[in-house]
């Protein structure tokens, strides 16, 4: 029996969901994100049977996960995989569980740890934020829950995977994480799909709370493949006193993505580092809105986003720095860069700033550029063919961001995917750079 606080929320959310029209996001100027082509009524949650071993998971999952260590142990402290609407695999290292760490589906956590979940569930998320936040709150199944008790330090990362491996699926996903006082951990959430023909939806909610002095490395890795996967998600991280979060969202594929990513430095001494990367191709559409919110003073932030666009893809990154009244002595910085590798791609980088107090430092900058032909010529003058020169320059452009990932397995995955995408776009890119 799920606890009533979840059901109450589902009922309220459902009511709102049914009332709300399908949204269109418009911004001044040319930018519109529309769900006109999404056939929502044809998509359904689908349930799957559990699998017994990691090796039984689809390739798209096992390919993305780190190999076992030399001694046969997993490189992960825990792994939770949701396929469609079902949690199909959940394991946590017994040693880690013995330290009091809870890492299980949110569904089970609601049953087994109702007080703990109720204390945090949707503290910083609201079903009233729109039609899809309401849908997620109303319909989520499976889900992920993490609680790391105070003072526990985990060496290996905890891994969540949301998998969609067939068209026709609507996946409503909710991850809730709580990291206790002075605890340390690393959490990775991967959203994966193989290339398929047809539509699917991932409507996601993610909330993570860092309590006093906690230290968390958080990574989101999204590669929905070449199918028509729509991703409409809200992710929010709250950082309490003297806690630190390094958050790395990576977007490598999806037909249409509209995400809100917020980081709240909520108490004195909290600080964050936010490092984003995207690569869009074909007719993909990416719309990201991040907020770096400082609710109290003596907090710091550092945001860097870099993207590359090929094909006739579109990417918009809007980054808001907001420093509330009374949050004196906050220091933050945001920069966003995008690079166009095709004449038909369009990028938008919009940093903005709302500062309601004095004695803070906040700066931001954004650029949209193309590959510099002088750099290509320089490399070619050393015997390096144009294709390789362009690839190296793009990889070099991403290097600053890749250096900040601070996760070997993820770094290798990102490098591999980027070079595959560049190889796929090669003719297009070479033609474009040679023409100018």
């Amino acid at each position: 029996m799920p606890a009533s606080f979840v059901d109450d929320r589902r009922a309220a959310a459902l009511e709102l969901y049914e009332r709300e029209p399908v949204p269109t996001w418009r911004r001044s100027g040319f930018w519109t994100t529309t769900l006109r082509n999404l056939r929502l009524e044809e998509l359904q949650p689908r349930h799957y049977d559990p699998v017994q071993a990691v090796e039984d998971l689809p390739d798209v999952v096992t390919d993305a996960l780190p190999d076992r260590m030399a001694d046969g142990r997993s490189q992960m402290a825990g792994l939770l995989v949701q396929r469609g609407a079902s949690t199909v695999f959940a394991s946590v290292d017994p040693e880690v569980a013995a330290q009091g760490v809870v890492f299980t589906s949110l569904e089970r956590a609601v049953e087994e740890h109702p007080e703990l979940v109720e204390q945090w569930y949707m503290r910083r998320l609201s079903h009233e934020e729109g039609k899809f936040p309401a849908a997620t709150a109303a319909f989520w199944t499976g889900g992920a829950f993490l609680h790391v008790p105070a003072n526990v330090r985990l060496e290996r990362p905890l891994q969540v995977v949301y998998l969609i491996d067939e068209p026709g699926i609507a996946q409503y996903a909710h991850t809730l994480g709580v990291v206790g006082d002075f605890a340390e951990c690393s959490l990775r959430e991967y959203c994966l799909a193989p290339d398929f023909d047809g539509q699917a939806l991932h409507s996601g909610a993610f909330e993570l709370y860092l309590q006093t002095g906690a230290q968390v490395k958080l990574a989101h890795f999204q590669d929905w493949g070449r199918g028509e996967v729509y991703d409409l998600s809200t992710k929010r991280v709250e950082i309490a006193r003297d806690a630190h979060c390094s958050w790395v969202p990576i977007h490598l594929g999806g037909r249409l993505t509209r995400q809100t990513l917020d980081i709240i430095t909520a108490e004195r001494g909290s600080n964050m580092r936010h490092t984003g990367l995207y690569f869009t191709e074909g007719s993909e559409h990416l719309d990201l809105f991040t907020t770096d919110l400082h609710e109290q003073g003596d907090t710091t932030g550092d945001t860097v986003w870099k993207g590359v666009l090929t094909g006739d893809s579109r990417a918009s990154y809007e980054g808001l720095i907001r420093i509330n009244r009374g949050a004196q002595n906050s220091h933050t910085y945001l920069q966003t860069h995008s690079m166009l590798l095709s004449p038909k791609a369009k990028a938008d980088a919009i940093p903005s700033l709302i500062v309601e107090t004095d004695n803070v430092s906040a700066s931001h900058g954004g650029t949209v550029g193309e590959i510099d032909e002088a750099q290509v010529y320089y490399m070619m003058s050393r015997g390096i063919p144009r294709v390789e020169a362009v690839r190296t320059l793009v990889e070099g452009y991403f290097e600053e961001v890749v250096q900040r990932l601070d996760d070997e397995s993820l770094t290798a995955l990102v490098r591999e995917r980027i070079s595959a995408k560049l190889a796929a776009a090669e003719d297009n890119v070479v033609e474009f750079t040679a023409q100018r």
């Binding site: 510099d372 032909e373 002088a374 750099q375 010529y377 320089y378 490399m379 070619m380 003058s381 050393r382 015997g383 390096i384 063919p385 144009r386 390789e388 020169a389 190296t392 320059l393 990889e395 070099g396 452009y397 991403f398 290097e399 600053e400």
Partner: protein
């Protein structure tokens, strides 16, 4: 074995810059190409390298008799042409060592062995008195003028071309750096390398003695001679060539 430039006319979108240049650099020879600012020296160097900014409207560039006039820069490089840039580009995110490895491998069928590459790099860095940590920095990012020039000469040493064009490698160097770079160039001189040293000043020619000197003025070679021509220029300045060539100082 030679680089031969025949009746070369070169233009940008706006206008013609080189008006029929002839020049021949044989392997084993060291040539100096001198001329005041704006005379077209860098244009010639970049046209030899195949820069897309310049269009050859007449004439030819031959390497060992083979016509390279239409070849892409990477083909020319692999054929044995090298240019040290007056203003080298910055390559963010790519370390000096990785860049060198890529460039060395571009010329080879099989990638160079790690150990062999390491030894070659170390020997050349010693020659140019370059610190170890230098090779892990991103190429030209935040480099001083002198560091950039040294990185160019390091590439020259690693790539072992047949023809090297050095575009104002001496400018912006203090006397110590100039000596190090000149020592490097001298160490590479030999029967296998033809060098075209492009310079505005005669300074570098005190360290690297040329076999031939050519003076470029307003896109034409107006005088040629041996090393003594550089000394004459040193004494009299460019005005004497201008007067001799009957050109007013107007471009």
């Amino acid at each position: 074995m030679s680089l031969e430039i025949q009746k070369l006319h070169v233009r940008t979108e706006e206008r013609e810059i080189l008006h029929g240049v002839d020049l021949k650099v044989e392997k084993g020879e060291t040539h100096a190409l001198m001329g005041p600012n704006g005379s077209g020296k860098s244009t010639l160097a970049n046209t030899i390298m195949g820069s897309p900014e310049y269009e050859v409207t007449e004439g030819r560039i031959l390497l060992n008799g083979e016509d390279l006039t239409e070849a892409d820069p990477d083909e020319r490089a692999r054929a044995g042409v090298f240019m040290a840039f007056q203003y080298p580009a910055t390559i963010p995110g790519v370390s000096v060592a990785n860049f060198l490895r890529m460039a060395v491998n571009a010329k080879r069928e099989e990638p160079i062995k790690v150990k062999e590459f390491g030894q070659m790099l170390k020997a050349n860095m010693d020659l140019l008195r370059i610190d170890r940590e230098f090779t892990s920095r991103y190429l030209n990012e935040g480099f001083s003028g002198g560091e950039k020039k040294r990185a160019e000469i390091l590439q020259l040493a690693m790539l072992k071309p047949e023809i090297a064009v050095l575009d104002e490698t001496d400018s912006g160097l203090d006397i110590d750096a100039l000596r190090i770079v000149s020592d490097g160039v001298n160490a590479m001189r030999g029967p296998e390398l033809g060098t075209l040293i492009i310079t505005h000043y005669t300074r570098i020619l005190d360290y690297v003695t040329p076999d031939f000197v050519h003076i470029l003025l307003n896109g034409r070679i107006v005088r040629q001679g041996g090393a003594e021509l550089a000394s004459e220029l040193e004494d009299k300045g460019y005005d004497f060539v201008r007067e001799e060539a009957g050109v007013a100082d107007a471009r």
